[in-house]
Symmetry: C2
Subunit: 241 residues, 2 copies
Amino acid sequence: MYKETNIRSIVKGISWRVVATTTTVFIIYFFFGRLDLAIAAGLIETVLKVGLYWAHERIWQKLRWGKKKIEPFNLWFTGLPLSGKTTIADKVYEELQKLQIPLERIDSKDIRELIPDIGYTREDRNRHMKRIAHLIKTLQNNSVSTVASFVSPYRESRKAVREMVKNNIVVYLKADIETCKKRDYKGVYEKALSGKLKNFSGVNDVYEEPQHAELVIDTDKTGVDEAVQMIVTYVKKRYVK
Amino acid sequence: MYKETNIRSIVKGISWRVVATTTTVFIIYFFFGRLDLAIAAGLIETVLKVGLYWAHERIWQKLRWGKKKIEPFNLWFTGLPLSGKTTIADKVYEELQKLQIPLERIDSKDIRELIPDIGYTREDRNRHMKRIAHLIKTLQNNSVSTVASFVSPYRESRKAVREMVKNNIVVYLKADIETCKKRDYKGVYEKALSGKLKNFSGVNDVYEEPQHAELVIDTDKTGVDEAVQMIVTYVKKRYVK
């Protein structure tokens, strides 16, 4: 949130004065045909009104009327590990930031780095999702929109998020598991397939496909930039007017 | 966060015009002594400048310059169960809201109701505090200040909070344990003393007194309203100018 500084109000006062006095001088000249007097009147007007305009600005600063509360949304990226969630969500976040709306990026990785012992069982994940939903809801209370990316493999936890937050936009990044395995630059599929990683969505734990996603993007057929464009357009049309 | 609506800019335009044109009419009258022409010029000025002022407002809407980011703070209430944390924090929150700063209230009870299986062991509590610190930090990223109240009995978890958030103000509500036991309207001390509640701070688990609290309030000697006044004054002096 931003607050107008006094200096901003003063500079606005001066910038307006240039526009306004020029107009006044022309009006007076038009009526009386005396440019010298028109300019003299303009000068007096300038001195008086810079101060008056500043006072007028500061009074309006105190009034809340006519300020519209921004309606926050939550973009929720779900999909198999390595389906492209973080990559696409990062780019979408970058694009949406240009709109100068209050916006926060929440990624699974960052939170798991901070609190490493969250766990990966169904129970652990559901509890984790509820906490994330609480975080998003608290941000929304303060008009902050969010771009969140989590594997979030279970229907029940995605449902819990939907119930707690408003303007929820689920983006399902559909990817063939064979493609994800090939993309495996983190080596996580390999570990899961060899049994070193347990509860790994898509290998030794389920990934329950969303049935009510607002956007389904087939990442085998859609490029990253195209996907970003689709998502940004969707958000702009509905939530950023 | 708020956004200026178009109608606000229009009404501001009209309100300014009344002030400005009256001034212009007086100036022209002073120079030329012709009230009829002064009023005619004033009328033309009015029509022209309401539009110009509106355009000027909308251009400034797009400029970020001179808007000051609000510096967020975190009020952190700690103390034994029933030392008065929720009561005092609620009232402080109410008072600070009047200052029209973006502000969020976070209470232990609300979060434990939402996610009941957080646990009360040292490990559970430390993890919980780290999550709360993350929540506060994320809010602070968006200029939102916080009023948080948690028993938070361990030094290490209060330290973790201090390291993660900025402008941290620890308020230690010091209360004699005997007073807290007497106030026991929730019956929690009774349960803890009979062994039905485990890991209860002050009974069968430690409460480590803060050594670096910004404010220490002895609730045995200080009334609620006085405590609220002290805290609000502290915050206003340092963070809300």
